[in-house]
């Protein structure tokens, strides 16, 4: 099973994400944003956290128009898996692969701490935890305040596409949403960082289960 991690100027969680994929047993290719094609045989594309293009204009807006993103969209349209974390989630909403947008945190502060999450919707990303499980993951963002119009929020809930909710909303996100799935449940965007909580040395391994289950699910698929 092979993963691609997209690298933009200003990405800073790309190697962390690659390491989390590798420790779960995936082969990883780092892919530069100016490339126009993914390597052959990619099962999942990871869009890492960071500050792509300095967060100019809007977080993720410039990255969403980078040359490689056409190939990522085509991969998703073919039913491929895509995981966007933090800035990666912002990029996925800017591309339209996921609904909504990430606004400035309601309290205006950059927040960097471990927060509580409840696992909700079923997917290859969340089944390792099981619905209703409480976990803890780090967040580190200034613009993580999830926004969508009420109709979109209602349909996300009706289709069971809220993957994670904050147990104590840190940033003003609508309906405590921390991560959402695409309608085919194969594209996940989330603000918390599972890759930063996936080894003993991190002091928290709640994130490792996401990568372990993902790899197992892709391997048996």
């Amino acid at each position: 099973m092979k993963a691609a991690v997209i690298v933009f100027p200003g990405s800073n969680c790309d190697r962390d994400l690659a390491r989390a994929f590798e420790r779960a047993g995936l082969q990883v290719a780092m892919v530069w944003h100016k490339d126009t094609a993914l390597p052959d045989g990619i099962d999942i594309v990871g869009i890492p956290g960071g500050f792509s293009f300095g967060d100019y204009l809007r977080c993720g807006a410039i990255a969403a128009n980078a040359p490689i993103v056409g190939a990522v969209k085509a991969h998703a349209d073919r039913g491929g898996y895509v995981l966007g974390i933090c800035n990666g989630f912002q990029v996925l909403t800017e591309t339209g692969l996921l609904p909504g947008a990430l606004l400035r945190n309601a309290g205006l502060k950059y927040i960097c701490r471990t927060i509580g999450l409840r696992v909700e919707a079923g997917s290859v990303y969340t089944e390792g935890y099981g619905t209703g499980t409480d976990i803890a993951l780090p967040i580190a963002h200034h613009d993580g305040n999830y926004f969508a119009d009420p109709h979109t929020l209602d349909s996300l809930e009706a289709e069971d596409r809220v993957a994670f909710r904050y147990t104590d909303n840190p940033n003003g996100s609508a309906r405590d949403i921390a991560g959402v799935l695409s309608s085919n449940r194969r594209v996940l965007g989330m603000m918390p960082h599972p890759e930063r909580a996936s080894e003993t040395a991190h002091g928290n391994e709640d994130g490792a289960r996401l990568f372990a289950h993902l790899t197992a699910a892709l391997t048996t698929a």
């Binding site: 809007r58 128009n65 909504g100 400035r104 926004f147 969508a148």
Partner: protein, 76 residues
């Protein structure tokens, strides 16, 4: 030709930065500031004859995120 694009958060979208500016104005003693909305202004120097439709496309594809923002094009 020069155009100026005004990008604002849509009504109903919380603007915490505008709120913070409103509070700061109040703290400076300015009374009666009911609300503050903060947006962006983007000025562009374009080839003469660039159509309004083309500029609209620039706004839709990049300059504004129409999920949360509205835009207005002003010719200079």
């Amino acid at each position: 030709m020069k155009v100026r694009v005004h990008v604002m958060l849509k009504d109903g979208v919380l603007d915490p930065q505008g709120e913070a500016v409103r509070h700061a104005l109040g703290a400076l003693g300015f009374d009666g500031v009911g609300s503050v909305r903060q947006g962006k202004v983007i000025e562009m120097d374009l080839a003469d004859g660039t159509s309004e439709a083309k500029i609209g496309e620039m706004c839709e594809k990049l300059l504004a995120n129409t999920v949360i923002e509205s835009y207005r094009i002003e010719s200079l």
